[in-house]
Symmetry: C2
Subunit: 239 residues, 2 copies
Amino acid sequence: MSRPRVEVCFTPNLYPLHIEDEYEIVVAIDVLRATSAICAAFEHGVSKIIPVSTLDEAIEYRDNGYIVAAERKGQIVSGFDLGNSPYSYMDPKYKGKTIVLTTTNGTRAINTAKHVNDLIIGSLVNLDAVCKYLSDLNKSVLLLGSGWKNKFCLEDTICAGAIAENLLKTGNFHSENDSSIAAKYLYLSASENYFGFLKASSHRRRLRDLNLNEDIKYCLTPNQTNVVPIREKNYLIKA
Amino acid sequence: MSRPRVEVCFTPNLYPLHIEDEYEIVVAIDVLRATSAICAAFEHGVSKIIPVSTLDEAIEYRDNGYIVAAERKGQIVSGFDLGNSPYSYMDPKYKGKTIVLTTTNGTRAINTAKHVNDLIIGSLVNLDAVCKYLSDLNKSVLLLGSGWKNKFCLEDTICAGAIAENLLKTGNFHSENDSSIAAKYLYLSASENYFGFLKASSHRRRLRDLNLNEDIKYCLTPNQTNVVPIREKNYLIKA
């Protein structure tokens, strides 16, 4: 039996180039900050997250009484309860609740991979848990970065490279694409010191300028939770 | 006065995401093998190369008596004089001649950057000459990889990273995009040993399977020529 593939797709706009290879599971990655915030939410007891791509959808949910988080350009959209900061999801008042979420890049990545059966949420904060989940599953996997408005971003690629490298070194997976090789090398260069390596990353600069240093620190610290959020129908729950 | 930018665009399909930044010059890169073959051609006396994107255009030129090179999937298209092998362009019979060229990826990259005024051809074989040319010019530059059917490829990215790193370390350029940081890191990881680093690259495997090891060796050996091919109207000449 041939070993399943693990490959990296840098950004949602490149997803159509990859789907012909028919992956069984997609991991949506938006390290700064959507998928880190989603992990934080489930770790702190949120029961369900509904990811939506547009503000129109978000507004409709809000008008129907939902708790709605909306982030654009790094900031909470005016008129919404929450943005994209992981810390905001740790509030006990959200325990057991359903939250609707739309972000600049992350929810777009999640909803891009609509026609694949299985989708999970990956980030550095749940890195080892995701690797164990995928390794146990032993299915072909596409690691899908969110990027910044479809431009390549370093932190998602490094997270994807970390997952790829972990699966490859079990000997039970293989990869063929140059994007996967590059992600793996970037991860190996970065793994000693994420903060130092990502100092120059454009999105980190963007968030730092918005005084989001605490968020950055949380998002770039691996393995703070064992939750693996998975998609069921149109929402996310804890696996 | 602000320093000009140097950035990396991995593949032609991503070019629209970059053009809003209004670069003054584009470097088209297809290490394996189109831009390496173009450099070899000018180094050996070819006087003009007309890059065309489609086989239809190539056939029309052929019917009008031109020497036409056409490559698809790594091989010469049946019925054409030449393919994409740098060695084939070294034949003295092409001295002083005009050659029309269409390739799977390289000529597409060249023609993607249609509306920028200045375009030059870069590869590892003319690396230092390209760096010197760009450094003297001191204009904002986009390094455009060809990829493989719009998928990211390692060798073009490493070549772009080498050019970026050379310009950045003069202190006269700056870069902002994560793609440029990644290319630079990949170059720094690879620069000790291109052959070893690229052993696993998908396109190298593809060419090796076609028995093109000599071509690979030529294309991955830096600085074999000082020519810098530049675009004038719809053709390329030696600068």
